[in-house]
Amino acid sequence: MSTPAPVLRLDGLGWSVRGVPIVQDVSLDVAEGEFVAFIGPNGAGKTSLFNLVSGIYPATHGTLHLDGADITALPVPARARRGLGRTFQTSSLWPGLTVAEHVRLAAQAAAGPAASYRIWRRAGHYRQQVEQTLERTGLADRADHLAGSLSHGGKRKLELAVLLVGEPRLILLDEPMAGVSAEEVPALVELIRSVHQEQGRTVLMVEHHMDVLLGLADRLAVMHHGTLLALDTPDAVMADATVQGAYLGEAL
C-alpha cells in the first residue's frame, strides 16, 4: 500500500478515569480512503476510542492529528466542522422531529455555522440532498414519521442518513448493524460500501459481526483492555490465535 500523508493520526492516545486507564497508548495512522474496522471484546475500549477521536471525551494522553493539524484540544463542534462525523452505539436522535427534518437539519449544519445564524432568512429545503439521502438509506417512505416512532432498525438507518447528508470526510460508525434484522443487513452493508468505495470516504467502524467486516475492511484493528492488540489485514488478523481465543471463540 502506498502511503500518502495520513488523514488521521493517533499518537499515544489515552484516556483514564480517576486514574484507571480505559484507553492506553493507541497509535495509528489512517490513510485517505482507507477502511479500518475495530473489533474486540466488550469493554475493550472501542467506543471510548471513538469518543476520544470525535471529542466527546478529552484525551488525557497523547495527541490526535487530522490532516496534519493538531485537534487534540478542539471541542466536538469544531472537529465536526473539519469533516469528522459519527454515529452512536445507542441511537442518538431528535425524537420529536420527523425523518425528513433530521436530514434537513443535518444538511443545513453541514453548510457551516454561518448558514445557521441567518435568522432573517427562511430555512432552506435542501430538497435534492434530502431526497437523495433518504432514497439511499431506504427511508424515503417514512420521511414524515417521527424519529421516536421508528423501529430499532429504522433508527439505525436514520443515524446513517443524518451522518451521510453532511458528507463528512472521515466517518466513525459504532456498531451500525447491531439489532438490524438479517434481511436489512445486505442493504446497509451495500450503503456503507458505496460511501467508502464510490465516494472514497475514510471510514472507521466498530462491528462485532466478522462476516460483515471481512468484505469491507482494508485493515482490522483489534482492541483489548484499552490497547491496540493487533492491526493488520483481515486475513492476517483472523488467522491470529490470540485473537481467536480472546475474541472470536467458536463463532456463531
Binding site: 467506543t47 423501529s151 429504522g154 439489532g179 434484522s181 438479517a182 436489512e184 459481526h209 462476516d211 456463531l252
Partner: protein
C-alpha cells in the same frame, strides 16, 4: 406441544392512536427456548412489552393458567417472569451491584450462577452501570433475570452488540437456563436461534404470521425467505456478501 406456559391470544396494542399490533397469537412452551422472530418493526418488542404490561393492550394473556392481561407490570413480574428489555434497562447512575440488588425478589438470589457466567460483573460491582461498555450492560440485564427463581425468562435481543465469543457464551447460558426455566427469546441472530430454539413464532406487520418448530422453519428455504426475508442456505449471522 404440551400445554403452553404462556398463551397470548388476539393481542392488540394502540399507542397514540397508532395501531401497532393487530392480533398477535403466541404460545410459549413450558420447556426450552421459544423464539420470537420477525423483521425490524414487525412488533416483537411491542409484543413482549405488552405481555409485561408496559404498554396498554387488549386481548388475552394467560400465564400458567392464570389470566395476567389486566395486571400491572410489577405483579406480572412477581408471578415469576424475568425480563431483559431490548434497550437493556440499565440504571446508569447506580452501580452494578445496586442494579443487581434491585432485581432481588426472593430470599436467596443466585449470585453464584451470575458470577460464574459473568465474572466481569463481579470485578466491576462498584462501577456506575452507565459507564459499562455496551456488552457489559447487556450482561447486567441478563444477570438480573437469572438472579431470581423465575418460571419464565423473556429476553429481547440479548446478544445485540456482544462480541462473537460472548454471543456463544450467552447462547450457552440461555441453553443452560432453558433446561430449568423456559425462555422466550427475541432474536435476529438466526444461527443462535437454530442452535437453541425449539418452538418459534414469526411476526409480520403486527400479526402472527407463523408458529411452529424453529428448525423446521429455518430448514424450509421458501418459508424462511417469505417470513424472514433471508434464504436458509446462509445460516450465518448476517447476509453480508463478501466480495
Amino acid at each position: 406441544m404440551t400445554e403452553p406456559l404462556l398463551q397470548v391470544r388476539e393481542l392488540r396494542v394502540v399507542i397514540d392512536g397508532l395501531h401497532i399490533l393487530h392480533g398477535v397469537d403466541l404460545d410459549v412452551a413450558a420447556t426450552g427456548v421459544t423464539a420470537l422472530l420477525g423483521r425490524n418493526g414487525a412488533g416483537k418488542t411491542t409484543t413482549v412489552k405488552a405481555v409485561m404490561g408496559l404498554v396498554p393492550r387488549t386481548g388475552a394473556v394467560t400465564f400458567d393458567g392464570a389470566d395476567i392481561a389486566g395486571l400491572p407490570t410489577h405483579l406480572v413480574v412477581r408471578r415469576g417472569i424475568g425480563y431483559a428489555p431490548e434497550d437493556r434497562g440499565i440504571f446508569a447512575g447506580l452501580s452494578v451491584a445496586e442494579n443487581l440488588r434491585l432485581a432481588e425478589r426472593d430470599g436467596d438470589p443466585a449470585y453464584d450462577l451470575v458470577h460464574e457466567l459473568f465474572p466481569e460483573l463481579k470485578q466491576r460491582h462498584r462501577q456506575p452501570a452507565g459507564t459499562l461498555s455496551g456488552g457489559q450492560q447487556q450482561m447486567v440485564a441478563i444477570a438480573r433475570t437469572l438472579l431470581n427463581g423465575n418460571r419464565l425468562i423473556i429476553a429481547d435481543e440479548p446478544t445485540k452488540g456482544l462480541a462473537p465469543k460472548i454471543v456463544t457464551e450467552v447462547a450457552d447460558v440461555l441453553a443452560r437456563a432453558a433446561e430449568t426455566v423456559p425462555v422466550l427469546l427475541v432474536e435476529q441472530n438466526l444461527a443462535l436461534v437454530r442452535r437453541v430454539a425449539g418452538h418459534c413464532a414469526v411476526l409480520a406487520d403486527g400479526r402472527t404470521a407463523h408458529q411452529g418448530d424453529a428448525r423446521a422453519l429455518l430448514a424450509d428455504e421458501d418459508a424462511a425467505r417469505r417470513l424472514l426475508g433471508v434464504g436458509s442456505h446462509r445460516p450465518d449471522t448476517h447476509g453480508g456478501t463478501p466480495r
